[in-house]
Symmetry: C2
Subunit: 439 residues, 2 copies
């Protein structure tokens, strides 16, 4: 190259691998990670990975080949060369006559072989090496579903005139359940990590009528199960001026439809990569009363909860009878619901609340809450609790609150159901549980 | 009314007060809080507040007047009546011949008079009574700016192909600064609240190239200042394949412009209510080297930080010389920057980092980070720290990381600058500091 050509190549803007099909015949610059090197007799194929996918670079020059030999997989490089059509190459385009330039020192060998089509590592290996294992294209795709979901959740609620809020994650009293809270040393004063934004989102219905929040919640779950994390991302919504919990279910239906829609449109490459069938969200989600669900399942009519087998059976019923991946069960026994739950008018054994099952597993709990100050005082008295610990929360009700309700969706659990993962740890970037605080 | 009319009124859908101008002549239903009652000789004006604003209801019927007397301000009611044009009424429309129906018990008197145009309460009163004081229209408007900002931040970054991430807020080691961390009892193991998502967002540049996160961060600040909170909302971005910190500043410029744009378009009523002049974000933010800033300020050339007075003077300089509410200062002394900061090539006294000043106050710190594994080992050794405590973080660099950088914006501080609030507690829904854990 003469000096003019050198200058041209130095200032050539970067092309993403996904845009190569539009650049056939051009001199291009790629930047990314060495995903794989395939050495043949006279040529080495270097597959480059960037945020948009993979691109093939054909290396023949002996000096470039020697350099490539010294740079292990995962080394970050800059490649300039000519984009040419080749039906055999991924995406139908490859880079020939490349000039390679490392952007870092050669990478240490990866703890797992990221170039294999699927990661076969055990879950502990996957989690211990999260900084590198998330680089695998299929792992990246899993998180892209989660990221698109966050966008869909917010968009659906903004369209419905909700206001986003941000509430504190450290609280002065361990109120909502008492058990399973993490203690924090707050400048020498005992404090706690918030188990949910429940009290704050209700309080803020008194301000903005309709609110949502995306944020971490903390549960000191002493059990090691595939469905529980000690810290997870909760998608919370709460809103006022409802008739009852069915208005909440209607908004939840819009939100879930918005989430699926965002995944389909914003994470289309991820859906394709993982070969997913996205769920169908019917206009009206099939709805059963808890009492009738027990009857249909031939379960003990005095049961106060549904077993995992019951949930799976209801999932099958929804799909077979209504063509729906979602089933809602309303009226859960008050005995199993938190103190702020609104009872069913006329029969306080049941509640104005529901669970939403997604493919036979509980995804969400939602419902109508109490809204009268006097009802809160009675509910706390019935629990044997003093209202003093709830002062800030009760203030909202003393000063006028509309009938309201809401729901919360666990992000990791939602993504796990979408991809059919057995363990929510597979859909969490850096999970936290009884045994895991790192990476 | 005959029974057909009763049925009609019962099923009448709700109208928001902001939509009343389109409903003149119609029978409408309003729902909201009694914001104010103004009793005149022959009539009482009841101002109703809903999430969209205020609406005037004209009450003359003796039975309705008696009822209204019993329902204090802040009681939530349902009103049906006829919308009629009246140029004297707020919005030019009022409701006549209303039927009032309370949706809760009468509210207790509010701790502050929410119907006054401005809240004159002291800051402690404002904060102690946050569940009700946020109901004041001007307070609501302040948070609407914050909510719109969150939308603008994310939109700008999604448009630039960033991926949203969610990282853990409880970590196993107190690494980033060592001091000012809150301890957590994690199932009997000592753990800490994350001071920032810094390590995780850098790690994830190795996965997604471009990431952002909105979430809480925790600083055990032992000082009580108007600019610091112990928990705040951090808007973080980090991305790879940069030349240096000026690429970071370019993205930050786009993000700030997106935030201002979202405030202007999505929170227009709030901007109007607070009579704000939104900042101008120039195409190129005026940029000074730290060394030259000291010179211009006639400060000691060995200074390693800018004083508040210096920042204010630079703010005036930006406005007078460049018509800009923003000024960037690059090259801050390495001595004052964290260990992962990339030094200025050629003169390691200075760093490839910057502060962004907004109206004469530091809003953001950003810059280029180290990206070579060996540089991290040296930087930690220079600090006298062992790399073992940083294992998960260092993994990302050992396995190939591109040149990268990023920034973080404190949501509360941004909103405080927008509205000209002296204290960040005024722009936080439920602030947490040395002395405050409730409400």
């Amino acid at each position: 190259m003469n000096s003019e050509e050198v200058l041209f190549v130095m200032t050539l803007p970067r092309t993403l691998t996904r845009d190569l099909p539009q650049r056939v015949g051009d001199e291009v610059r790629l930047q990314g990670w060495i995903h794989r090197r395939r050495r043949l007799a006279s040529v080495t194929f270097c597959v480059l990975r960037d945020r948009s996918g993979l691109g093939q670079v054909v290396v023949k020059d002996p000096a470039e080949l020697r350099q490539l030999d010294e740079l292990g997989e995962e080394t970050v490089i800059d490649v300039t060369g000519t984009a040419v059509a080749n039906p055999q190459a991924p995406g139908g385009v490859e880079i020939v006559e490349p000039t390679l330039r490392p952007l870092t020192d050669p990478a240490e060998p990866s703890p797992v072989e990221l170039w294999r089509p699927s990661l076969t590592a055990t879950l502990p290996t996957l989690l211990d090496n999260a900084p590198t294992t998330w680089r695998h294209p299929r792992r990246q795709a899993v998180w892209q579903l989660a990221a698109a979901t966050l966008h869909g959740f917010r968009s659906a609620l903004l369209d419905l005139d909700f206001t986003e809020v941000q509430t504190p994650k450290v609280v002065g009293t361990a109120t909502e359940s008492g058990a399973n809270v993490f203690g924090v040393d707050w400048f020498g004063t005992p404090a706690y990590l918030a188990q949910s934004p429940q009290f704050y989102k209700q309080t803020l219905v008194g301000v903005f009528e309709r609110v949502f929040e995306v944020g971490p919640v903390f549960r000191a779950e002493p059990h090691d199960t595939v469905r529980h994390l000690a810290e997870y991302v909760s998608l919370d919504a709460e809103f006022g001026f409802i008739d009852d919990h069915r208005d909440v279910l209607k908004v939840l239906r819009e939100v879930v439809a918005g989430m699926v829609d965002a995944v389909a449109t914003r994470a289309a490459p991820a859906v394709e990569q993982l070969e997913l069938t996205l769920p169908v969200v019917p206009e009206t989600i099939p709805l059963l009363h808890f009492r009738d669900a027990l009857k249909m399942l031939r379960a003990d009519p005095d049961e106060v909860d549904l077993s995992p087998e019951h949930e799976r059976a209801l999932g099958r019923w929804g799909l077979e009878e209504h063509g729906s991946d979602f089933v809602a069960v309303e009226g859960y026994p008050m005995a199993k619901r938190p103190f702020y739950t609104h009872p069913e008018p006329g029969d306080p054994r049941w509640s104005n609340s529901f669970d939403l099952l997604f493919r036979g597993l509980e995804l969400t709990t939602g419902g109508q809450r109490l809204h009268r100050y006097a009802d809160y005082l009675s509910a706390l008295a019935a629990k044997g609790e003093s209202p003093e610990a709830y002062t800030g929360y009760l203030d909202a009700f003393a000063h006028g609150m509309p009938p309201h309700g809401g729901f919360a969706i666990g992000l990791e659990r939602w993504t796990a159901r979408l991809v059919g993962a057995d363990n929510v740890r597979e859909t969490t970037l850096f999970p936290r549980d009884l045994h895991r605080l790192a990476p």
